[in-house]
């Protein structure tokens, strides 16, 4: 499978950082940027997420996979403050994130995208991008009227936005309404907009859903590019080819828990994972009798 893949320096380093890591659920990493302990979320009687221990290695691309209803998106929501767990704690960059509001997580350098793309359809592409920039002086209402206060910053932001759009090959759509973009372009826009916040951790919820095969290749490139620029990427995905292609480490969830961890090659051979996806033991819980 790796025939045509060559690894860059950063990618090699990222892969090597997993050398000594055990292939068990909840494995300890060398230098985790994000950790979670005993995070539990119940909806009525259903336990959606029950993660004992979870770590994301800094500077790597980590994939979070699992069958439908495994709790991946719920876990994402908990980590980013969009939902509150019943119990548990989690840290980002050594800072406890319990009770941190969703808008504060972005300011701390942890940005997410959504499974159902949230492009702001009635704003132009460039306005979508500008919105992503943090700490804008002009976003204070008392400054709004005085363009002189924020014009300089706005120009900087626009320059950065244009660079990112060019990198994502969206510059020709710059002044179009985001509503006129195709599904795949919206995914790109959402990713580019998230980068405007200057994140250290990018969390992508199903970046490939509804994207055509040609665009998937370039999305893969972009995700690798994020790591090469020093960011950490955590993504949820169903497309196994893509997971195998881009990720350095894979964490598998089923029924709200982490059932396996390892490199993409390990995971491809893991019987628990194959069972989880293919349902080898039908009617039996995935957590029993491995």
């Amino acid at each position: 499978m790796d025939t045509e893949r060559t690894y860059g320096e950063v990618a090699t380093r990222a892969r090597e950082s997993f050398k000594g890591v055990e292939r068990i659920p909840g494995a300890r990493k060398q230098d985790p940027i994000l950790t979670a302990d005993n995070v539990r979320r119940e909806f009525g009687g259903i336990i959606a997420v029950d993660v004992e221990h979870f770590e994301v290695q800094k500077g790597s691309i980590t994939a979070l996979i699992g069958p439908n209803g495994a709790g991946k998106t719920t876990f994402f929501n908990l980590l980013t403050g969009f939902d509150q767990p019943n119990s548990g704690q989690w840290n980002f960059n050594g800072k406890s994130m319990n009770g941190v509001a969703s808008h504060r997580t972005a300011a701390l350098g942890m940005v997410r995208t959504f499974q159902l793309t949230k492009s702001l359809t009635k704003l132009s592409v460039i306005e979508n991008m500008r919105l992503g920039a943090t700490d804008q002086k002009g976003e204070k209402w008392w400054n709004g009227l005085f363009a002189a206060v924020w014009k300089g910053q706005e120009a900087e932001i626009t320059e950065r936005a244009d660079e990112l759009l060019a990198r994502f090959k969206m510059d020709h759509m710059r002044d179009e309404y985001a509503g006129s973009l195709s599904g795949g372009q919206r995914k790109l826009l959402e990713m580019a907009r998230a980068l405007m916040t200057n994140p250290t951790l990018v969390m992508l919820d199903e970046p490939m859903a509804g994207v055509n095969p040609a665009l998937k290749q370039s999305l893969n490139q972009h995700i690798r590019g994020l790591r090469d620029d020093g960011m950490t990427v955590l993504f949820v995905e169903h497309d196994m080819d893509m997971v195998h292609d881009v990720s350095d480490w894979v964490i598998v969830m089923a029924e709200g828990r982490i059932i396996a961890e390892g490199t993409p090659d390990d995971i491809a051979k893991n019987s628990a994972v194959i069972d989880a996806y293919l349902g080898a033991r039908q009617g039996q819980s995935l957590l029993e009798g491995e």
Partner: protein
């Protein structure tokens, strides 16, 4: 049929004081509803804050009339906080329910017998606009004199209110226009589209919604003040639900999320209304009868007028849903 009279009155409807206070209130509502997507059905409540702020200052607090302006604004900021704190974290519908109820509560409290000493009950508060009038006289616009030429003929009293009113429309139009082109306005427009996306980019959505609600409310308050100054009185039943919905109608007529839409929509609303009213009155003056069936009686003018306005609006919504100034292209992306 006196076409001259109809023409004169219609023109006055277009630029008259009703259009002025509607335009200001619609600008405020536009900040909330048009740009931020907040369903404020209680704009009348904010207007009442302004009107009673003025009225109570003169009548009850017994201090200079001009204090009424900041007092009215403080009232409306408090009202905005009161409405916003419990509801802005919830879905949009909750704000709609709370605002419509709050505005009604305000109206019922100020017209209640129990608080008659403070608010004047259902008679309201009268005779507090003397300082405002005398300021007009100082500027050389004599209250009792006639100014202008046909068809623009106004008494000094009307003219003074109109000048101040249109200056305020221009001021708030400019403020809203500038703010909505700033990064602050961009955040509001983004919230209208998708709150979660804005949250994920690190903006405190709750705080922005509160700012929008209060700014729109304060603009509405100023509208209520102009209305009260023009009448020289505050009456609780002027601030009922219909007022909010007529303003909303004017806003939609002109086109939401456009400054020009709020202003021209209000002018058109009153222009159309005055034209229909005058036209139908002229028809009723000289009734056409078939046997003992009279086609138009003067008592039917009011009802028929509202029916026709309603039909006009329905037609507008069918054939031009974005309003007169709205952006068709924006409308097209409604379904995401």
């Amino acid at each position: 049929m006196d076409w001259n009279l109809i023409f004169e009155n219609t023109l006055k409807g277009f630029i008259g004081i009703n259009a002025v206070y509607f335009a200001i209130a619609a600008l405020g509502l536009n900040v909330q509803f048009g740009y931020t997507g907040l369903l404020n059905f209680g704009q009348a409540g904010f207007m009442a804050c302004g009107a009673y702020g003025l009225g109570m200052t003169a009548h009850y607090f017994d201090i200079s009339f001009w204090w009424g302006i900041p007092i009215g604004i403080v009232f409306s900021v408090l009202l905005g906080l009161l409405m916003g704190i419990p509801t802005l974290r919830l879905r949009a519908d909750y704000l709609a329910i709370v605002t419509i109820a709050s505005a009604e509560i305000i109206r019922l409290v100020v017209r209640s017998v129990k608080f008659k000493t403070y608010f004047g009950g259902s008679d309201g508060i009268n005779g507090f606009s003397d300082s405002f009038r005398s300021l007009g006289n100082d500027f050389g616009i004599e209250e009792a004199d006639e100014y202008g030429f046909w068809p623009f003929k106004f008494t000094g009293r009307e003219l003074w209110t109109l000048i101040i009113g249109w200056l305020l429309v221009a001021l708030f139009g400019f403020v809203v226009y500038k703010l909505m082109r700033s990064p602050w306005g961009r955040v509001l427009k983004a919230i209208r589209e998708d709150e979660d996306a804005v949250k994920s980019l690190g903006k405190n959505v709750y705080s922005y919604k509160m700012q929008s609600l209060i700014l729109g409310g304060v603009i509405g308050t100023v509208s209520g003040m102009i209305f009260a100054l023009d009448r020289g009185s505050v009456q609780p039943d002027n601030y009922s639900r219909d007022l909010t919905f007529y303003i909303l109608t004017a806003l939609v007529l002109g086109g939401v999320a456009k400054v020009s839409g709020s202003i021209v929509g209000s002018m058109m609303f009153w222009g159309l209304f005055t034209f229909m009213d005058n036209f139908l009155r002229q028809v009723a003056k000289d009734p056409v009868s078939i046997g003992n069936f009279t086609i138009m009686k003067s008592t039917q003018v009011g009802q028929l007028n509202f029916i026709l306005i309603g039909i006009t609006l329905i037609l507008l919504m069918v054939f031009r849903p974005q309003g007169v100034f709205g952006n068709r292209k924006e409308m097209a992306f409604d379904g995401h």
